[in-house]
Amino acid sequence: MLKVDGLDVAYGRILAVSEVDLEIADGEVVALLGPSGCGKSTLLRAIAGLERPTTGTISWNGTDLAGIPIHRRGFGLVFQDGQLFPHRDVAGNVSFGLRMPATQQPPPTLGGGPVASLSAEGAGNEGRRGGLWITGRGGESLGIAARVDEMLELVGLSGYGGRRVTELSGGEQQRVALARALAPHPRLLLLDEPLSALDRALREQLAIDLARLLRESGSTALVVTHDHDEAFTLADRVAVMRAGRIVQVGKPDEVWRRPVDEATARFLGCDLFLDAHADNGVLNCEFGSAPVPWAPDGPVTAGLRPAALRVGDGPTEVTVTARVHRRDHVRLVVDTGGRRVDAVAGIADAPEVGARVRLVLAPDGVAVLSRRG
């Protein structure tokens, strides 16, 4: 289990990470979500051993990792753009970690995740004490080759072992980078914006693959991303970060429905905030009422995403002032009498600019915040 306690990381006078506490349980995938420049990559790099904390501790199963360099931590690292070794083929990349002395670890026990039993003496001895599962030189290369094949199959690139990494597409490179990081059974996998360099269609597909893969390998992982779709696809828990601090930690749907404050809600897509009142799971506001079971009774603030207001049979009549076609809906800007807000309509029955339409409150797009002030 990874435990980050009261961590500060400073660059000169600038505090990039401030008073961060975070725990990742074995087998859990946590996403670190935040806008660019919020310090999330710095936090990941500190956990990897690439940045030195100013204060605070990072520990694994109770052992402080301070002073343990990156190559003894047994943490896998995947960058945004793969960073494959250009002078080695695919198999040479995947086998890299297996050839290194410190990370020869016993294979995972049945049903369990990567072996996570670090004793107080530090990470370096783990492989040796775990028993020699690789014996002799011939057996060693056999074990490595088998593991490489296994990893390539896991990421859907069977038979790619002999290819040059420069011939691979961006998506294939990321898969190889993932296989390379997973091959030596890392105790913790650190992914820094792993899908951001890919185009959208590929990103969505690979996010689903990656989520499956992390579950199947039972990996403990920390994913840094600025994309909430990605975070919610991959993670068991999401930690939202802003200006160097973690402002909220929770399950994806909790964070999505109950953001801790307005800034977090804005980051998660809400751009209209209204006073509202909730009664027995029904939310009432100026655009009508809708069943919102996650709203606590009493006065609340409703944060509306564009999808919260749909063209339909509601109480509010508005004028359409602009429309933009999106992939699966039409985004509207409507005038509610002096105020402009976003709304959505179906593609088939989207109103023209200038039309008078009625809006209905849709619970899907509603986030509930504690009442301001």
Partner: protein, 539 residues
């Protein structure tokens, strides 16, 4: 985001620091000490006053600067069309041009001197200027083309769309962007021309003297050591000044503009660009003339074609002009150049590793810059000065080093090491820190990262640097002419001796030996071109 702040971790810092002592120690003993000894001798005697007071000195200084400036101007003007051809044109034969222009740069100075003497038997200032420019066209063309090929063409297109003529777009957009590269190349070329030795000695004789040949003549012929030391002092001062200017220009270039991958910027020439391309081809053809002339002379005898010169290489020349045969000299050359290359690789690689490691830790940026420039000093401080310095200082070392044959490779290594650093350092600096971090996260210790990532990535450059260093050592003339004893003379020294003695056979032998040196050089250059990591490295 990629910040490798590892200065507080002991193992990261101490390794490179210890390694850094090797090249620094060598540099101190075999470069700084001899040079310092010369400075001391120059300052300590009445030589400086006497030399500074003599009008003869100032005419030598004036001629040195004047011929260097003229040569630099000629080299830059000739090189610009070639740079355009290399950087902007997608035409067949570009690879051949790239290799061809590099040949003059690595030719031994005696070879070039002799080639121009065969073309212009009367010698004179013009032949000196042309020969120096001939050497250095490649430096300007390749440095400028290196930047030009990565320059975004769209800036020019924008200027054209705003109504600028092609010429106007070049002068107002492209030329200013290229200025840092032109400036730093010109500074280096000026330095090379100002300290040019073999060419001036062969073509100028006693009539046209530069500081470099004057130092040699005073030491060897007039035995005026304090006067020579004073002249060296003047030269060192000027060289340091130029090097500092060049370093400033280089720093500006490194913080340069939006750069593109090379393939995006080349296309077939259009309209007037064909004239520029044609001029470039003409320059390349002109560069080949002295080389061809040399080969032709080597197979001409008084009665038609013949290989007399080549046959004579197995002997000691007309009436025993030499103490060893030409072939023995060739063997000496190969042996000394091999030793010098191995030594220079050891020094250059360890110095580069130190510079890169310290640069990555971002601990002492000023120190790294200073070290970088200091390691370039031997490139500019004349080889003659170094050789001269050895004569003064090395008596103090244990063993009989001054009369030892090991002195030649040591001096050659000092000359070659800066070139090796200039070829390796940019490649090592271009390794993405995250690639190294990825290796670290997979369990590779810092030393293992060097072995598994940096060194393999720089492998081709290492071989190229070795080959390049080898040909430079092979042709080294200035320091070697001070240090080689008659029985350990190298081929360039033998050539120099042959042409200073009477006898047609001696001349033919010299031309034949030059051709042999040139063949080896060209073969190695072609190898380097094949191995070259595209557009990284400065030479």
């Amino acid at each position: 985001m990629a910040r490798g702040r590892s200065r507080l971790r002991l193992p990261d810092g101490t390794g490179p620091a210890v390694l850094g002592l090797v090249p620094l120690g060598f540099l101190a003993v075999f470069f700084l000490w001899p040079v310092a000894a010369i400075i001391q001798r120059g300052l300590g005697s009445d030589g400086l006053v006497r030399v500074l007071g003599s009008p003869d000195t100032w005419s030598v200084v004036l001629f040195t600067v004047g011929q260097a400036a003229a040569s630099t101007v000629v080299a830059v003007i000739a090189a610009m069309p070639v740079a355009f051809l290399l950087a902007r044109c997608a035409l067949p034969g570009i690879a051949v041009v790239r290799a061809a222009i590099l040949v003059p740069f690595v030719l031994p100075t005696v070879v070039v001197g002799l080639a121009f003497r065969s073309l212009m038997p009367d010698g004179g200032v013009l032949s000196i200027v042309l020969a120096n420019a001939f050497f250095n066209v490649a430096v300007v063309a390749r440095t400028v083309a290196g930047l030009w090929s990565h320059l975004d063409r769209r800036a020019e297109n924008a200027a054209r769309a705003l109504g600028a003529s092609p010429l106007r777009a070049f002068t107002s957009v492209t030329l200013p962007a290229l200025r840092p590269a032109i400036g730093s190349a010109a500074a280096i070329v000026f330095l090379f021309c100002a300290t040019s030795f073999g060419v001036v000695l062969l073509l100028g004789g006693a009539r046209y003297r530069t500081l470099e040949t004057e130092i040699y003549l005073r030491t060897v012929d007039l035995l005026d050591l304090s006067g020579a030391a004073a002249l060296s002092l003047i030269q060192i001062t000027a060289v340091v000044a130029v090097l500092v200017l060049a370093a400033l220009a280089r720093r500006r270039r490194e913080t340069a503009m939006a750069l593109r991958a090379r393939t995006e910027t080349t296309r077939r020439p259009r309209g007037g660009e064909w004239w520029v391309a044609a001029t470039a081809y003409a320059v390349v053809a002109a560069l080949m003339v002295p080389i061809v002339a040399l080969v032709v002379r080597s197979v001409s005898t008084s009665d038609g074609w013949g290989l007399d010169g080549y046959r004579a290489l197995s002997g000691t020349g007309f009436r025993g002009s030499l103490q060893i045969s030409g072939l023995d000299a060739a063997v000496n050359s190969l042996r000394a150049a091999t030793d010098a290359t191995l030594l220079a690789l050891l020094l250059g690689v360890s110095a580069s590793v130190v510079l890169v490691s310290l640069g990555r830790s971002r601990a002492h940026p000023g120190f790294v810059d200073t070290l970088d420039t200091a390691l370039m000093l031997p490139l500019g401080v004349s080889a003659v000065t170094v050789g001269f310095g050895y004569l003064i200082t090395l008596d103090a070392l244990p063993g009989d080093l001054r009369t030892s044959a090991a002195l030649v490779p040591l001096a050659q290594a000092i000359v070659v090491t800066p070139l090796v650093i200039r070829m390796i350092l940019p490649v090592l600096r271009s390794v993405d820190p995250r690639l190294r971090q990825a290796a670290g996260s997979l369990g590779a210790s810092p030393w293992r990262v060097w072995r598994e990532v940096d060194i393999p990535l720089a492998g081709r450059s290492l071989i190229a640097a070795a080959a390049f260093g080898f040909v430079v050592a092979l042709g080294e003339f200035g320091a070697t002419s001070f240090l080689a004893r008659p029985d350990s003379a190298t081929l360039p020294i033998v050539i120099g001796r042959l042409i200073s003695r009477p006898g047609e056979l001696n001349n033919q032998m010299a031309y034949a030996a030059c051709t042999m040196l040139m063949v080896v050089t060209v073969a190695v250059v072609l190898l380097v071109e094949r191995l070259r990591v595209r557009s990284v490295g400065e030479f």
